[in-house]
Symmetry: C2
Subunit: 505 residues, 2 copies
């Protein structure tokens, strides 16, 4: 049995105190291999703290391989935890694994999405943390019918390997959709990927050597940052304003010798929710063309527009062939399909298809065929017609309640699409601090500093309105407003938090 | 319109003559962007040759991005084909893509699975070429029911993101199955991958830097070779005999400083179909432990055994924790699921999970849940009970007809599992030559030289018996016997073939 004693006055966060004491017990030989830990509920009750705080401690230990857990079976100490914590002697002849590891930069594999807390940990908390569409709105039955139809129609054929580039009817449908939006692209230039994350990874794998430079919006999507870093690339941030990335400020970095790629999200950028203006789009494409650079245009949420009109994709403004377009069904439909796509200029498309074959041979043909069937049968349009008004309503609820409950010193974006709002906190109030206090009150938010390169700026929160119905949005925003006001009272803040925190998708 | 003239006496293969003349027409400006090419059937009829030969020419042009094709719409010249063939001027400002490419070794992206001909090209030929299970034997209806059950039971939950490491019930099931086979492994050490191809890629990504050395059986699976090469690793072959890799011959290479990994397929090795003896398994694990190396044990076809008993996995013989185990549903069930798994020692498992998150965040939760449902409901066992006797019958048919039709100078393995037979041709008869002549008679085979490192040995064929029922096996083997006998007459051979040929999975 592990005894945990908390010091409420300590600058060390509560969850970290718990994790450290459990680790000390493991490395000190005070627990056995496979020994059970108390449930999060039991330990939270015993210590008189929120269960989420215990979950967070367990999640940290689990990420480090010291403990493992399973719904219904609790949490236990792993054999490798015994071996790796503290003095556990390595088994004779075992490889010293870290000495065999590739020279992948550690920052790429020790933070961000590679180590983020899994949302199931969050239980019944009100979550503004994850940019997930709402599972309650997923078209489950329509998808089931699409799967049934393709299996009945095509039988075993859709259970075999598909071509690495993707299922031809799906590639064709995507090419046509892009053509309808003014993009000059052939179906042979479409590559189906396992989610947009793989699209980013394949482009990086095709283009980046250690020391190459990638320009990104600052702040930006952490999952992309980690991909680029994992290939040893250096990142340079482009500051943003209401019109998106300030392209003029990128000119010098674009001209430097090892700059190869510019990664941007022109629509409803993650995390700022800002949409790049037409003028900026044109300037960016022109900059890339004049410097001979590639642009990766990540249009992850393009169909989720609540008002206004769509601006043309960068790829439609690109006579020079510099732009690689990326999108996904993940946000507009559901993430579990893991189907994204790239539209890349011919010579690069050939390269990407070959790298796709090397990386995982091909994306599930069954899912590709089902996605095609789903879209071709009109289910995607029906789904969007249903969810766009609901998400608009949630956005509006969040706006209304922020105006009511947030202090006058705070400000925020009002996005015309996407799933998040970007909040700027009152001066001297840190996002980390607000996030942890809110979590203690069962409200989860995204810490803005995590999206900034080098985590240099600390005054933003990313709030997703997609996961909760309006009533819970009202409740969560009220609590969050209280927390922010308390932190205004308490500034300057003295409490310091985690390096490995919530959530990055 | 493109005029093609064939020289039947030329040492240049017919398909290559066709491809070269079409490319010349494109680069010479004699065809338009989007211009249609004749169908394979029409051109074959016009030239009086086999349609497969035309398909092969088109496939080569398509791989190079010069043309594109689609079932039902024919084949046409692509815009990028116009631009990249011959003198087509690059559009102003377009990135010179190859100058932006990463320094991935060209050999990794210009051959093997990255460029292999897609099997749909093969139409009604008798195929011994692909190590695919037979789509007619896929349990389509059982899978449909499994998908329906998980969607009804779990609804939107299985359409959301899953944890990067995999769906917990599936990881647990896989861990238990391995435990039943004597492997000491915890479910926290299981990582679900998008097919076994991704398993190989993630292990390589975790371990290999340019210049590191990987030992592989020679011959071996080309898809693995390409992964290792794509990370800049050097490969060293371990010669094989009837007992599998000759471990003594690997000792010197294992001891060299930059050797990190040994990649083997102990059961029904691809392409030789040989199973590694227990003595060799023990010797290999002991060698890795003494040198501090990792072993990647690829057990892609472990459940497809027709007689004899299973030998323990390397991982069950490994007290030192050197072995990473890899398997998949691809061969035993159907490839279209794209679900494989790794079982890796704790510290490496943590690293692999993080790299998985970077590479594609996670494998489709819907497919993982469906696979778990399928197996937990007994459908996998039922499926294996049905297909193992059928594949045994096909193997036996191939054996019988080879004995009848192949010349006495040829020899072959009689595998006790898996899906292929490894043939050694009579001296002076080249696999390339036999493969092309057989293809002219609509029989497709795997050329053994492609599986040998550096393509150094030319006397083997890989014949898969999984794709055809016994009657077509009889017919194909009879034709193949005739071709081999003709080539014995004609040796030494004068005809030379392709560098980019059929098929590597």
């Amino acid at each position: 049995m592990i005894a945990v004693t908390l010091n409420q006055e300590s600058a060390v966060p509560i969850y970290r105190q718990i994790a450290e004491q459990i680790e000390a017990a493991i490395s000190g030989g005070r627990v056995q291999d496979q020994e059970r830990l108390p449930t999060t509920r039991a330990l939270a009750t015993e210590l008189g703290i929120n269960r989420l705080t215990v979950s967070r401690a367990y999640a940290e230990l689990s990420r480090r391989g010291l403990i493992a857990s399973r719904v219904g079976s609790g949490t236990w100490v792993t054999p490798s935890g015994i071996a790796s914590a503290g003095n556990g002697a390595a088994r004779s002849g075992a490889p010293r694994w870290p000495s065999l590891f590739a020279r992948t930069p550690e920052r790429a594999v020790t933070s961000g999405i590679a180590s983020s807390v899994w949302p199931q940990d969050s239980d019944d908390a009100i979550s503004f943390a994850w940019v997930f569409p709402d599972p309650d709105l997923f078209p489950v039955e329509a998808l089931r019918r699409a799967v049934t139809r393709v299996l009945r129609k095509d039988g075993g054929r859709v259970l075999g390997y598909g071509p690495p580039a993707g299922h031809p009817p799906l590639r064709r449908m995507i090419a046509r959709d892009l053509q309808d939006r003014g993009v000059s692209v052939g179906e042979e230039e479409i590559i189906i990927t396992s989610g947009s994350q793989q699209g980013i990874d394949l482009v990086a794998r095709a283009l980046l050597d250690p020391g190459d430079r990638v320009l990104v919006e600052d702040p930006t999507y952490v999952g992309a940052v980690q991909v680029f870093q994992s290939y040893g690339a250096e990142l340079e941030g482009i500051p943003m304003d209401e019109e998106g990335a300030i392209v003029e400020l990128a000119a010098a970095a674009a001209a430097r010798p090892r700059t190869k790629l510019i990664y941007v999200m022109p629509n409803f950028q993650n995390p700022t929710s800002r949409t790049m203006s037409l003028k900026r789009r044109e300037a960016l494409v022109s900059l890339a063309a004049s410097e001979g650079l590639a642009i990766l245009e990540d249009d992850f949420g393009g169909s989720l527009r609540y008002e206004g009109i769509d601006l043309p994709p960068l790829k439609a403004l690109d006579p020079s062939g510099s732009v690689i377009y990326l999108s996904t069904f993940g946000k507009k439909l559901f993430p579990g399909l893991r189907i994204g796509w790239l539209a890349a200029p011919g010579p690069l498309a050939q390269r990407l298809i070959r790298l796709k074959a090397i990386a995982d041979y091909s994306t599930s043909l069954l899912l590709q065929a089902a996605a095609h069937e789903f879209c071709a049968g009109g289910d995607l349009d029906r789904h969007l017609a249903k969810v766009v008004p609901l998400y608009r309503e949630r956005r509006d609820a969040m706006m209304t309640h922020m105006r009511e409950h947030f202090p006058a010193e705070a400000s925020w974006t009002c996005p015309d699409g996407g799933l998040v709002v970007w909040v700027t906190l009152p001066g001297g109030v840190s996002a980390e601090d607000v996030a942890m206090r809110a979590e203690d009150r069962s409200v989860l938010v995204g810490r803005g500093d995590l999206f900034h390169l080098g985590h240099r700026r600390r005054e933003n929160l990313r709030l997703s309105f997609s996961q909760e119905p309006p009533k819970r949005i009202a409740q969560g925003i009220r609590i969050l407003g209280e927390v922010i006001k308390e932190r205004i009272e308490a500034r300057p803040s003295t409490r310091h938090g985690s390096e490995n925190p919530l959530p990055l998708i």
